[in-house]
């Protein structure tokens, strides 16, 4: 692809999303779809991000709020269980953290270079609300 000449691609400013033809795409999980190399799904935009969310599974109640609110479809949920974040497409906007209702939050923002295991090990404790 990187070395393709001007005479070697299909005409038009046009890219195909999937290899071959597709049938029940709405009923096919992303990991089972045959995305082309040209699909935006295949491209990482991780370098757009300055801060990243880290997911602490122990506190998650699988409410799916983050999955609903994520503007980049970067929350990975299977069978209504939150299983992680698509770090190739997450832009680090922080909306998932904002909408997370647990105490402490199951998602928090950290600098891009933060180590996931270290941060989870020192995750904040439950906040007691002052009355």
């Amino acid at each position: 692809m990187a070395n393709t000449g001007w005479d070697e691609f299909e005409i038009g400013a046009m890219l195909r999303t999937f290899e071959g033809s597709i049938d029940d795409i709405a009923g096919t999980l992303q990991e089972d779809r045959k995305y082309t190399e040209n699909s935006s799904f295949s491209a990482s935009v991780a370098d757009w991000r300055i801060e990243k969310p880290i997911f602490a599974k122990d506190y998650c109640i699988d409410c799916q709020f983050c999955w609903i609110y994520c503007p980049d479809i970067s929350i990975i949920s299977r069978d209504k269980k939150m299983i992680g974040i698509d770090m190739d497409h997450c832009k680090g906007c922080g909306i998932c953290v904002e909408v997370c209702p647990t105490n402490p939050k199951s998602l928090l923002m950290f600098p891009e270079q933060a180590d996931e295991e270290t941060e989870i090990a020192q995750w904040p404790a439950k906040e007691t609300k002052e009355k």
Binding site: W6, F9, E10, I11, G12, A13, M14, L15, F18, I22
Partner: protein, 407 residues
Amino acid sequence: MAFDKMELRDIEVWDGNFAAAQALRQCQIDVVAAYPITPSTPIVEGYAKFLADNYVEGEFVMVESEHAAMSGCIGAAAAGGRVATATSSQGFALMVETLYQASGMRLPIVLNVVNRALAAPLNVNGDHSDMYLGRDSGWIQFDSYCPQDAYDLNFIAFRVAEDHDVRLPCMVHQDGFMTSHTAQGVHTMDDDTAYSFVGDFKPMNDMLDFEHPVTHGVQTEEDWHFEHKARQHNDLMTKVMPKIQAAFDDFKTLTGREYNIVERYDMDDADVCVVCMGTSVETAREVALEMRAKGIKAGVVGIRVVRPFPFFEIQEALKDVKAIAALDRSAPGGAPGMLFNEIAGCLFNTDTKALLSGYIYGLGGRDLTKKHLVDLFTELQANVDAGKVLTPLQQFIGVRGPKLQFL
């Protein structure tokens, strides 16, 4: 078919606009997204009326600007329909941003451009400013000289644009008012014959093919943009002219009417000639015949295909002539006229010793009279006799005030 056919006489009295509207009906355009502007409005109005009267199966989309009109056409063409619209002048200028999108996305849209001056000062009459504005947009551009051409070239435009080896949008130009509002006898085709020439639309990478989803109008930066533009230019330079010639040949077989990439009139033994476009071609032809009666061997070359520019056909047409006038009907904006430059580029590096001079004329609908052309041919003959161009290379014809000439 769900729509009604229209009975036409063999020869109808149509102006250029109605001729173009009839062509859009007979091609059975799926979508026309349009915004009105003088003098092109009757084309899309005509389509809308045919649609309302059940002579077409399609959609007429009323939009808020010409930018939106072409955007709607682009969407409809990417979706997989046969698409056309019309515009002029300021509307064309507003469309320019989307013209480049249409050609870059390789969408076979046909745009009828009824040529009109560009403001300021505001002017609704015909000159070629809008045609010239579109000449780098990557579209194919056909030029009509009369209503018959405006009718015929629409069919040819669809045939060429929709060819899967081409897939480039086409403009069909006609002179504002002089062609668009001047009724003449137009030889027609019956509906079935006309439709058979363009055939059923054959989609390519259409968005309505749900089994093969595509993204149209993608972003590329320094890594890919150049390759896409190179491909488009290559196809314009190598694939389009043979397809146009084939369409002209088939059209002649079907109707007996002959079109050529470059039209030549009395050029076989011509010493002097003018190269021009639009309605001026017909005036120049008449004057050339009269000049021959006076002993000046005059000829006329009309540009039929403006883009891609007929480089080799112009070389061939002008190889034996001794003096050439390039007539540009657009304010050149601080340069020689477009035709002067293109013709100079064609003839440079060849063996011809032809003398080339440029003339700017007819801006804002100013008439090009027979007297102007008599003087012009006489001037060209004087250049031939002297063996050099006796005047500056750029002169204005028909403008009031002191003689205006440069270069």
